[in-house]
Assembly symmetry: C2
Homo-oligomer: 193 residues x 2
């Protein structure tokens, strides 16, 4: 087996674990199911990972990384703060599947393990901090009025996205996610000068 095959197997194992965590949760994801989906043998799995917790940590870390990269691409792009936040909130998402990071908070086994919970916590702390920095920038430049509280507003915006996923799943329709985002942007607009 060459180096590229080995790397391919490792990536397939991570991708399969991400999919299974998303579809079935931690407790419903067996090492056997991961191996089957990745078309990898047991020996190959244990060559790359110590076991299911180690694989789950790699999978969650990868989901968190991608979430950050996608968000940062919007945040550091061109435009006013409102335009960049609008772009972030309105970008395409697989709304009905739920947030690959946020839905882990409803997985009791992930939340009970401090190592698995850490990347989830860090992702939302980063996201909230990044939005708060943008809102602070917008307040300093006069785009928003002085009454806007960057930290609380940033937390509310992250909550709208996470709650938007919940409402979309409840109604079986992505439309309600867009309505929650519209509502948040309408409220933010009231702070614009």
């Amino acid at each position: 087996m060459g180096t590229s095959d080995t790397r391919g197997t490792r990536e397939r194992l991570i991708d399969s674990t991400r999919e299974l965590l998303w579809e079935r949760g931690y407790v419903g994801t067996s090492p056997k199911a991961i191996q089957e989906r990745a078309a990898a043998g047991q020996g190959s799995m244990y060559h790359h990972f110590h076991g299911k917790p180690d694989l789950a940590l790699a999978a969650i870390g990868r989901s968190a990384e991608e979430l950050r990269a996608r968000a940062e691409a919007g945040f550091s792009g061109p435009g006013t703060v409102t335009e960049r936040i609008t772009g972030y909130l309105r970008r395409e998402r697989e709304v009905l599947k739920g947030c690959p990071v946020g839905r882990l908070t409803q997985d009791p086994d992930v939340m009970a393990d401090p190592e698995l919970r850490r990347p989830v916590e860090e992702t939302f702390a980063w996201l909230t901090g990044r939005l708060a920095a943008l809102l602070t920038e917008g307040r300093a430049s006069g785009e928003f009025g002085g009454g806007l509280d960057p930290a609380a507003t940033a937390t509310a915006l992250v909550a709208v996205v996470q709650g938007g996923y919940v409402l979309a799943r409840a109604s079986g329709s992505a439309e309600v996610f867009g309505r929650a985002v519209d509502g948040a942007l309408g409220l933010l607009a009231a702070h614009s000068r």
Copy 2:
């Protein structure tokens, strides 16, 4: 067994199912676990319910009813619309356990069953409609400016609560829920005249 005992058993079965759905999800909740927690025999369980789906439906219906009753108590109370919405958003919640209705949206077995999903969908539709009616009332009375979109804003407020639960669980602290609510109220205040 007298009528009051029979009623007591039925209630205990519903309560136990609610607790187990909350703690372990649908797939992790066995009829045996429900019977054990309710201190009820198998015959007694099947006297009151056809089986696990029937019990789950009663349990979810009860959680939905309680959510509506608690919310309505705040919505129909005294005070301005802003005061009533503030009371609703700030009332005490077991934040770290998650919303007993909202977290069902992350339970694949509940979402896959139209009968079990219906009370979840109806609860959020009712809640959003009720908040939209309040916001419309506040706009008509001049409490809010004409730029406020009641339906979108109501959806955003429900999303903030649901997302607040997600962020609180991610950080293992109820504080972030309060910050999300503060952010939402700050944005709403910008619409006040």
